[in-house]
Amino acid sequence: MVKSMSDFQPKIIALVCNWCTYTAADLAGTSRLSYPANIRMIRMMCTGMIDPKYILKAFLDGADGVFIGGCHPGDCHYINGNLKFKKRMAGMEAIIKQFGFDENRLRLRWIGASEGPEFQHNMTDFIQTIQDMGPSPAQGIMVL
C-alpha cells in the first residue's frame, strides 16, 4: 500500500563520521537549528569503514534514501578514509541504479565539525529530494 505523495514521510538512514558530520549534527542541535525528523543517524568512526553492505542493507530494508557525511578531504582523522569511501561510491551508484534505485537516493557530502548550518541545510535538502522522488521501490514488496 503506497501512501499518497503528500503524506509520504521518507525514512532516511544517515551514516555519519564521528569526527565531523556527527559533531556538526551535535552543533546544529545545540544551536537549535531544526530540520525534519526523517533522518535516522548512525555514527561511524569514519566513512572509510562503511562497507557497501551497510548501504545495501538500508535500501533492502526499505530506506528511501541513504546519506553519508564525512570530513572534508585533508581533514580525515584517519588520513584518507573519506577518500577511500568516495572511491567506493561510483561502484555503489552503478549497482543500485541497475537494480532500480535512483542513484540520487544515495548521497555523499563533506560536512566539517563546525558546519552546523551546513548540516541543517544538507538534511533539509536531501529530505526534500527524497520526498519529491517518492518511496523507495523496495517499499511494500517482499525482499528475500
Binding site: P52, K53, L56, K57, L60, H72, P73, G74, N80, L83, K84, K86, K87, R88, M89, A90, G91, M92, E93, A94, I95, Q98, F99, G100, F101, L108, R109, W110, P137, A138, I141, M142, V143, L144
Partner: protein, 367 residues
C-alpha cells in the same frame, strides 16, 4: 615480437604433452600445475606434477573445467618456495590469478604462466556425456564446430579467449590438425621456447580471420545477454524473481575465484539471526522468508567483487537452482568496471580501483 614454435603429434593432447613434459624432463621447471584426467574420471582436474612420467593424463585443452583453477594456482604459489613452477591455465583463470596477486593471496615470483587459447568449456555433465560417447573429446571439440556450440552460456559471451599476461600461449585456432602453436608472451617465455627446442614456426595466416570471426560472434552474444539481463534485473522486484529459488547454499561464492575472504561475513554472527530477531522481523513485516538475507548475499557479493569479476561463469555452473548468477554478475560487473575504467586481469601492476584515490583533492562537494 613473439617467437613461434609448433608441435605436431598424433593428437593435440599428445602434442601438448610432448612439449609440457619437456619442461620437467629438461629441468626447466620443478613442477607443472596442469589439468589432468585421473584414473577415476575423464573430467580434468588441476594436478601438480613434479615427474614427467606421471604426466600421462594431462589434457589442458579439454573443454571442461570443474572449477576456475585460479584458487588452486594461488594455493601452490601462495609463497615463493625457491622452486620454479609452471602454471597451465585458461585465460579466465589467469585473469583471476592476477587479481589474487593484487590481493596479496599469491605471488608470481618464479612462476611461468602458460596460457591456453580457450574455445570454451562445457558443463561437467555435458562433457562427461561426450566423453562416454567418444573417447577423445578434446580432439573432437577442436575440429567439430557443432560440439563447440555445447559450451556454457558464459563461455559463449567471452571475448577474452586469448590469454593476456602469459609467458607462453598454446593455441590451436587456424592450425593444421593435431598441431599446437606455441607463442612467447614475454622474455621468460621466449627463452623457455628456445630451450625446449621446439621446431620454429610462422603464425598461420588464417588465424587472424578465424579469431576475428569468433570474436565478433562472442561480442554479439555478449551484447544480447547484457541487454536481456539488464532488463530482467532493472527493479528489485524483478531481481527477486530471478533469485526466488536461491537456497543460500553459497556455492557461487565458493566457486568464485576472486571472492577470496578466508572468513565470509555471511558465515559469521552478523547474518545468523537469533530467534527473537526473526520473530520481531516477522511481526514487523508480516513474514520473513528463511533462510534470510538472500538478496543481501548476492548484492553484497556484487558490491565487493564486481570490479574483479573475470566472467568465468562458474557461479552459474554450480548453482543447484539454475539461477543465471553469471548473467547477473557479468552484466553488473561490466557497468562497475566501466565506471572505474578497470579491467580485471589486464595488468598485474594496475592497482585495484578502491586503492587508488587522490590524496590531494580539492575541498568542497564530493560530486
Amino acid at each position: 615480437m613473439s617467437v613461434y614454435a609448433m608441435v605436431k603429434d598424433t593428437s593435440v593432447t599428445e602434442a601438448v604433452k610432448a612439449a609440457l613434459t619437456k619442461l620437467i624432463s629438461q629441468d626447466l621447471v620443478d613442477a607443472v600445475l596442469v589439468a589432468a584426467k585421473s584414473p577415476y574420471s575423464a573430467l580434468p582436474m588441476p594436478t601438480l606434477f613434479a615427474n614427467a612420467e606421471a604426466m600421462d593424463g594431462i589434457d589442458p585443452l579439454a573443454p571442461a573445467a570443474p572449477f576456475n583453477a585460479a584458487r588452486q594456482a594461488a594455493t601452490v604459489s601462495r609463497q615463493a618456495t625457491g622452486k620454479r613452477l609452471a602454471l597451465v591455465l585458461r585465460p579466465c583463470e589467469i585473469r583471476a590469478l592476477i587479481e589474487l596477486v593484487k590481493l596479496n593471496q599469491c605471488t608470481l615470483e618464479n612462476v611461468v604462466l602458460i596460457g591456453i587459447e580457450c574455445l570454451g568449456r562445457m558443463e561437467n555433465e555435458v562433457f562427461l556425456r561426450h566423453a562416454a560417447a567418444q573417447g577423445d573429446v578434446t580432439a573432437e571439440f577442436l575440429k567439430n564446430t557443432s560440439l563447440q556450440d555445447d559450451i556454457t552460456r558464459t563461455c559463449k559471451m567471452c571475448e577474452q579467449f586469448e590469454p593476456a599476461h602469459a609467458d607462453i600461449v598454446m593455441s590451436t585456432l587456424g592450425m593444421a590438425e593435431n598441431s599446437v602453436l606455441f607463442a612467447s608472451g614475454s622474455e621468460t617465455g621466449e627463452a623457455l621456447l628456445k630451450e625446449l627446442g621446439l621446431s620454429p614456426a610462422e603464425k598461420p595466416a588464417e588465424r587472424e580471420t578465424v579469431t576475428k570471426q569468433l570474436l565478433e560472434k562472442r561480442a554479439a552474444f555478449k551484447k544480447e545477454v547484457f541487454a536481456e539481463t539488464s532488463e530482467k534485473i532493472n527493479s528489485i522486484e524483478k531481481f527477486e524473481e530471478m533469485i526466488g529459488t536461491c537456497l543460500n547454499c553459497y556455492n557461487c561464492r565458493q566457486a568464485c575465484p576472486v571472492c577470496y575472504c578466508k572468513e565470509c561475513v555471511f558465515l559469521t554472527d552478523v547474518f545468523s539471526a537469533r530467534p527473537e530477531t526473526l520473530l520481531r522481523r516477522a511481526q514487523k513485516r508480516g513474514s520473513v522468508k528463511l533462510p534470510t538475507d538472500t538478496s543481501m548475499f548476492h548484492l553484497t557479493r556484487l558490491s565487493h567483487i564486481a570490479h574483479a569479476c573475470v566472467g568465468c561463469g562458474q557461479c552459474s555452473s554450480v548453482c543447484p537452482s539454475n539461477i543465471p548468477v553469471a548473467d547477473i554478475f557479468t552484466t553488473v560487473a561490466a557497468q562497475v568496471q566501466a565506471r572505474y575504467d578497470y579491467v580485471p586481469g589486464r595488468d598485474v601492476q594496475e592497482p585495484i580501483p578502491y586503492l587508488m584515490f587522490e590524496e590531494k583533492q580539492k575541498s568542497g562537494e564530493p560530486k
